[in-house]
């Protein structure tokens, strides 16, 4: 793989829900070990962008290239064809996703949640999958909770299991979609600390967040989205310290207290 090529290259991405243009031509590059936070008001298209990268949404125009591979579609004779289930699943396994509402499988234990993809997608033998799951649960501070069901865990613990579930698959890129928005305030920090520590370990992260202080601390770059476009993209010092864009400046005034 060419070292110069970005890990993730989004070019001219457009997405429509019915008659509403949600993404109006988004360009974004991520290199390996980049931690990029997307900020912006709700409805700006941040979450939709993440969901397109993980192929949970179809999109109408543009390309997403992950590690040299075009995601979701192949073009033939100038027409786009969405891949079939098998190919989409393989491509999805290259990215991990952590959701706002955790989405742990309620019928499986914490270890079971982490093991499912290891067993069925990566086809690891059971003992090996269990060992990987335990390593990751230890990593997020939940070794003692491996055999607990999601209903027996706090929100913060559930979200940390979800992070372990995503990371255990050894994805090239991890997408985090407002991972602390559904948490009680006192549980936010434990999850942010977990994200910070996986970022420090060199994971490539694309984060949608409303936690400005966190975005500033953890990110190598911050991207501001407004009405389906990226309007400013730069290091956190620039975005938070000297925003060029008027709307970004207004957005930051409104979110800072």
């Amino acid at each position: 793989m060419d070292k110069q090529q970005p890990l993730l290259a989004i070019r001219g991405l457009t997405k429509r829900f019915g008659t509403v243009d949600v993404l109006k031509g988004v360009d974004l590059d991520l290199d390996r070990r980049d931690v990029v936070s997307i900020i912006g008001s709700s409805g700006s298209g941040k979450t939709t962008l993440l969901r397109c990268v993980n192929l949970l949404e179809e999109y109408q125009g543009g390309d997403i290239v992950l590690d040299g591979e075009t995601i979701g579609y192949r073009s033939a004779n100038g027409r786009r064809h969405r891949f079939g289930d098998r190919e989409l699943s393989r491509q999805r396994s290259m990215t991990g996703m952590v959701f706002q509402s955790f989405n742990l499988f309620p019928h499986l234990t914490a270890a079971g949640n982490v093991m499912l993809g290891l067993r069925k997608v990566l086809r690891l033998p059971k003992a090996e999958a269990r060992a990987v799951a335990e390593t990751w649960l230890t990593r997020v501070g939940l070794a003692a909770r491996a055999d607990h069901y999601p209903s027996q865990l706090s929100g913060g613990q559930q979200q940390r299991v979800a992070i372990a579930r995503a990371l255990a698959m050894n994805p090239k890129l991890v997408l985090l979609d407002e991972v602390t928005s559904a948490l009680d305030p006192e549980l936010v920090q434990e999850v942010l600390n977990t994200v910070k520590s996986i970022a420090d370990d060199g994971a490539t992260l694309l984060i949608v967040t409303h936690e400005m202080r966190f975005a500033r601390d953890v990110s190598s770059r911050v991207v501001f989205m407004e009405q389906g476009r990226i309007v400013e993209d730069g290091p956190p010092e620039q975005i938070f310290g000297a925003p060029k864009n008027q709307r970004l400046a207004a957005f930051l005034r409104n979110t800072r207290h």
Partner: protein, 217 residues
């Protein structure tokens, strides 16, 4: 009372055969009905509309038709088409089709009640659609579908008595034959009723036990 007990003793083998056949018919019907209902429920939940249509039609026809009419249809229609089904086979066919529609519909309800985030989480770790169904969606749907599924089993035990109309020697027909010999109408109908009740109470308790086991989390 002594007379009844004497008659019961005389009729014990006939009643036992009828009882056994009733249980066997219900068991076969719930087995085939569950297999069929599994397919139907999945199609109703996830198939494109043109594929969904025949399944929808099947479910609505089955659910809108009296079970007795289904049984008579299953008994007479195949013979017109040159297929010879015995009365027991025809009965199991009718009850399986009936159960398949009910189980399909209740599975659809259970699948659609699962929050969409579950499928998204399964997809995001790279599960294919069949894997998603097998390991994420169906286990969750099965849990909420279990009580009405047991209820379908109870319906099939009761519904199997209608097979007496096409000459299947299940519990009700055996009871009627016995009454035809000894004229102890009330006693033997009550006795048959108690047997039906006993099967269904056992089934109900079995369901509750399974529910407790899987429903802990």
């Amino acid at each position: 009372m002594q007379v009844f007990l004497d008659q019961l003793w005389i009729a014990r083998f006939a009643l036992w055969d009828g009882f056994l056949l009733t249980v066997q018919i219900a068991a076969a019907s719930i087995l085939f009905g569950t297999l069929l209902g599994g397919i139907v429920g999945i199609q109703l939940s996830y198939a494109p509309w043109w594929l969904k249509l025949p399944f929808r039609l099947y479910v609505d026809i089955m659910r809108g038709t009296p079970v007795l009419v289904l049984i008579l249809a299953a008994f007479y229609i195949p013979s017109v088409a040159g297929l010879s089904l015995g009365p027991t086979q025809a009965g199991i066919l009718a009850l399986s089709l009936f159960a398949g529609a009910h189980i399909g519909e209740l599975l659809r309800g259970s699948l659609q009640a699962i929050p969409p985030g579950q499928a998204e989480a399964g997809r995001s770790i790279g599960l294919t659609f069949p894997q998603l169904l097998a390991y994420v969606l169906l286990p969750q749907a099965a849990r909420s579908a279990l009580p009405p599924w047991i209820n379908t089993g109870v319906e099939l035990i009761k519904g199997s008595s209608l097979l007496s109309m096409i000459g299947v020697g299940e519990l009700l027909l055996k009871t009627q034959e016995i009454i035809g010999r000894n004229f102890m109408t009330i006693q033997f109908y009550v006795f048959a009723g108690i047997l039906y009740l006993a099967i269904n109470i056992v089934l109900d308790q079995l369901g509750k036990a399974v529910e407790r086991r899987v429903g802990q989390h």
